[in-house]
Amino acid sequence: MSDFLLELRSEEIPARMQAGARGELEKLFRREMDAAGVGIGEVTVWSTPRRLALVARGLPESTEAVREEAKGPPEGAPDAAIDGFCRKNGVGRDQLELREVKGRPTWFAVIEKPGRATRDLLAEAIPAIARDFAWPKSMRWGAASVSTGSLRWVRPLSGIVAILGEDLVECAVDGVRSGYATLGHRFHCPGEITIGGAHDYAEKLRACHVIVDHEERAALIREGARKAAADAGLALVEDEGLVIENAGLTEWPVPLLGRFDEAFLDVPPEVIQLTARTNQKYFVCTRAPAQAGASGEGEQPHEAPASAGTQELANAFVCTANIEAEDGGAAIVDGNRKVLAARLSDARFFWEQDRKTSLADHASKLERITFHEKLGTVADKVERVAKLARWLVEEGIVRESPLPLAGGAGGGPASSDSDIPSPNPSRKREGDLANLAEQAARLAKADLVTEMVGEFPELQGLMGGYYARAEGLPDEVADAIRDHYKPVGQGDEVPTAPVTVAVSLADKLDTVAAFFANDDKPTGSKDPYALRRAAISLAAVVAQNNLRIPLSVVYRATFLPARLNLRLDNSEVPKAQRAIDDDYFKSLDLFALRQAQEAENVFEIMEDRAHRVADPTKMKQFGRTRAQAILTEYESSEREFLDFFADRLKVQQREAGVRHDLIDAVFALGNEDDLVRLLARVNALQAFIETEDGANLLAAYKRASNILKKEDWRGIEGEIAQTGEEDPLAIVDDPDLAAVVAAKMAERHASGLSYTPEPAEKALIDALHAAEPEAARAVEQEDFAAAMAALASLRAPIDRFFDEVTVNADEEKKRAARLDLLARFRAAVHKVADFSRIEG
């Protein structure tokens, strides 16, 4: 058994590609060894900017001999077929054997494969690994690149070390020959060093100022940067992404702390942090001591940087050098300080320049920016969003204080429109809120045309917030501008301030609806406008704020303006017609249209308006046709829109840790466009399923279901409708049919049984009798905890029923009645959730 070392040396590998390259190297090495039949044990991969290394422990000296057989043509087959078979398997005709296959003599080739030396197999594997290596971007170089068929690598490949035990594995990749020699640190140890094998590789490199283990370098940077900050009486702003990147840029990392001019601290801290991070890969520091837990020993922080926004930034940075400088790093720190100062003076210039213009004036430039070829400019979008944000407040969807969660654990009576626990303080306040929401929406995108956001697109929103505050706009407006993109991704803060919520919702709704109106829906893996992400974060805002948001109404309010906007721009309409068209649609008060409660009303208004423009006869006809066409489009896209949101809500809830089967169980009931109601139901179900009653009831449900399925029992349900559906549950799922079923069942129950039921049977009938109306009432009132409690009351009777009663009684009438009873039980459970979707 020997250990194997492979080092592929190259010019500097981009830091961001190193993790992927390590995975690729191990994957290809395992693939090659597997194909060659070499059993391998532990494999370790390392990377530095200048090398990828792999150590495989305990390789055998050679592979075992193997004997393989191949079945060929039958006896008497044409010579050509038999010769071909021999050629394919590399055997002579005299080496074939005849064997019976299903009574037929058939030729077999027996191929003896002798064991091979692992060293030879490795020598073949290494060029294959190099050839097949997948880099995100690769290149050609040098004289060989006169042909495009030359080797491609991430940067020029310059050396190969391949040693099995202590023996060289001789191979060559595109002219680069393997050897024992590698290079140490580019500046500290420029000469060649000779490696003995896997056993001394890491230590020999260490002696030459190269730490080959990337994790060790990351740890050195993590600890070193913390220490550098602490030694200066500061706290490091943790940033694991920077730790990894700097580890990928160095072979001998040395964190160094430097200072910059205090005067730059006037610039917002996020800007300083981003400038330092993105352009220079520096850490920043705060004055406050590190928060407990935020920088605990051994803890692996997130890759996203901690925000410096909440703490006071210090005028210090930590850079990571790649050398142990002769002067202790003084010159390096000084050089880096100058570069950062130049960057920060640019940032300060932008900060000062941008504030010379009001946000409203910046916003007027949005007319010049195309939002989407067919959906107009960003200014068009802002106009729609502003009106929608106002509408969301005026409709009472976004309120001053959020509604309490309906049907919570306390199980109190649910709120309805007439009974809102915390009514709006005053009409005036609501008016303010609507004004603020509209104002914030009109300014929310203004920072896109500022110098700062031009330089750092990541600061969109944040800068707008700063500029709004700087010009004295209300805090609510500034906060809304700052936060309206949120949440971006799982774990991001979800807005709760009403003005922010209104703008955030309006912005995301408009984006999704506008693209749906333009028939640009995400399909499969294609989602070029990130509509899924927009919908997920929208679902998070709705869930977090418990917003009662009727999606169909919202879609109508959003679809129409977006769709009409689109029509103005639509080049498919013939030009002459378009002129009339534009005239007509411009005459429409989109905002008034939006307030119409029913879709049909909206289109009536559209038709009505058509009468009032230039050429009444022409327009009347035209308006009607156009309105009808849009109505048809609207109706077909509405369903897609609702389904799309339901799917996103599922994803969002899954990401938030809710069991997906429970989500499915509630979603399967269908006919629900109120996200909050859905979520309340899911939450109540989750709470219930985790109790003993819940778990037992689920078990009983599954048992009942299985019996019904096994008996193919359609019972009363089957009598009522033969829809051809295989799954009887599908019938119960149909709300119209369910009502009929319920009525029919009630009739049947009322009619009583033709025999005396056993006590346990009677008890279940009685329990259902009580639970059914109670569950129905609770669901109606959105008190889902009470609905669950009603189900829980069935648990003891159903368990007892299964214990004491024989369902498959000999007497047919008893059997039928008992199966009916089980069907009734199942239907009662379904009123609350589709338990068939629940796992466990």
Binding site: E11, G142, A144, S145, I332, V339
Partner: protein
């Protein structure tokens, strides 16, 4: 005569000339046209095509009208110098050669932190791209280092290595100066500001405020038309010059703020077509000769 690159801008340039000349490079003079980057020099673009070895070094004045700051910004200029080295095919020791050139101008890599940081290069205008790095010296980008993969939409066979030193930045670093205008130009007290400050002021004013935009639009149209005329008459190098001209006039129009966002894309596409058309014509004209000389190349 002793050079002192650490105290003189011109000595730094001469030291680079000495060094690259000793490596076998032709020392060329700047291209006599206004251009945004040394890459536009025909010694780079056109010579990057084809199989013939090509090693050259030169200073190229670059003009970026929108970077003008009226002489008030210590780091930004609308006119500055690049030092370009082009080595085809890229030699195996190109990184070492480059690092030696840094030592020659006084940068000690055991005192200063030199790093190769991923930075790929792409010029849609030239239909060109390459992989490489920006070279950092103590966190400052001092050189763009690129292995050209394609030029004018054609594969570079073989690949050329291109080094572009930002001369003012390097000199500021070596001389320890915070303001570009304080650079010592000749080591005898003439500053960069003495030479260029007034030029920056006037040219910034011209770029942003004065230039006659109607005349510029006219120049753009004429350059584009002349480029096509040259292509029709199979003089691709002359056509390429007109593409350079159109590109610079477009930059001036940008600085004057008279090109809207929508128009911008269309102008860029025009410039790209001119540049690519010129490269294509150059290829077409040279390809038969190259193929004969180097059968490998045409494969």
């Amino acid at each position: 005569m002793d050079r002192n690159p650490a105290e003189s801008f011109q000595d730094m340039i001469l030291a680079l000339h000495d060094f690259w000349s000793a490596q076998g490079c032709l020392i060329l003079q700047p291209y006599d046209m206004r251009m945004g980057a040394g890459t536009f020099h025909t010694a780079t673009t056109l010579r990057a095509l084809g199989p013939e070895p090509w090693n050259a070094a030169f200073v190229q004045p670059c003009r970026r009208p929108t970077d003008g700051r009226y002489g008030e910004n210590p780091n930004r200029l609308q006119h500055y110098y690049q030092y370009q080295v082009i080595l085809k095919p890229s030699p195996a020791d190109i990184q070492d050669l480059y690092l030696q050139s840094l030592r020659v101008i006084g940068i000690d890599p055991l005192l200063h932190d030199i790093r190769f940081v991923e930075d790929d290069w792409e010029s849609p205008t030239l239909g060109a791209w390459g992989l490489g790095w920006e070279v950092w010296c103590d966190g400052m980008e001092v050189t763009q280092f690129t292995y050209f993969q394609q030029m004018g939409g054609f594969d570079c066979k073989p690949v050329a290595g291109e080094l572009t030193y930002g001369l003012e930045r390097l000199a500021m670093y070596i001389q320890g100066v915070d303001n570009v205008y304080d650079l010592d130009f000749n080591g005898r007290g003439v500053s960069y500001g003495d030479v260029f400050l007034e030029n920056e002021k006037q040219m910034s004013k011209w770029n942003f405020e004065v230039a006659d935009t109607d005349a510029l639009f006219d120049l753009f149209r004429k350059a584009a038309a002349e480029c096509r005329n040259c292509l029709d008459n199979n003089v691709p190098i002359a056509a390429y010059e007109q593409a350079i001209e159109a590109s610079h006039v477009f930059n001036l129009l940008q600085a004057r703020g008279v090109i809207s966002v929508q128009e911008r894309a269309s102008y860029m596409a025009q410039v790209r077509d001119l540049a690519r058309g010129s490269c294509e014509a150059y290829m077409a004209k040279e390809a038969p000769r190259w193929a004969e000389k180097c059968p490998e190349w045409s494969k």
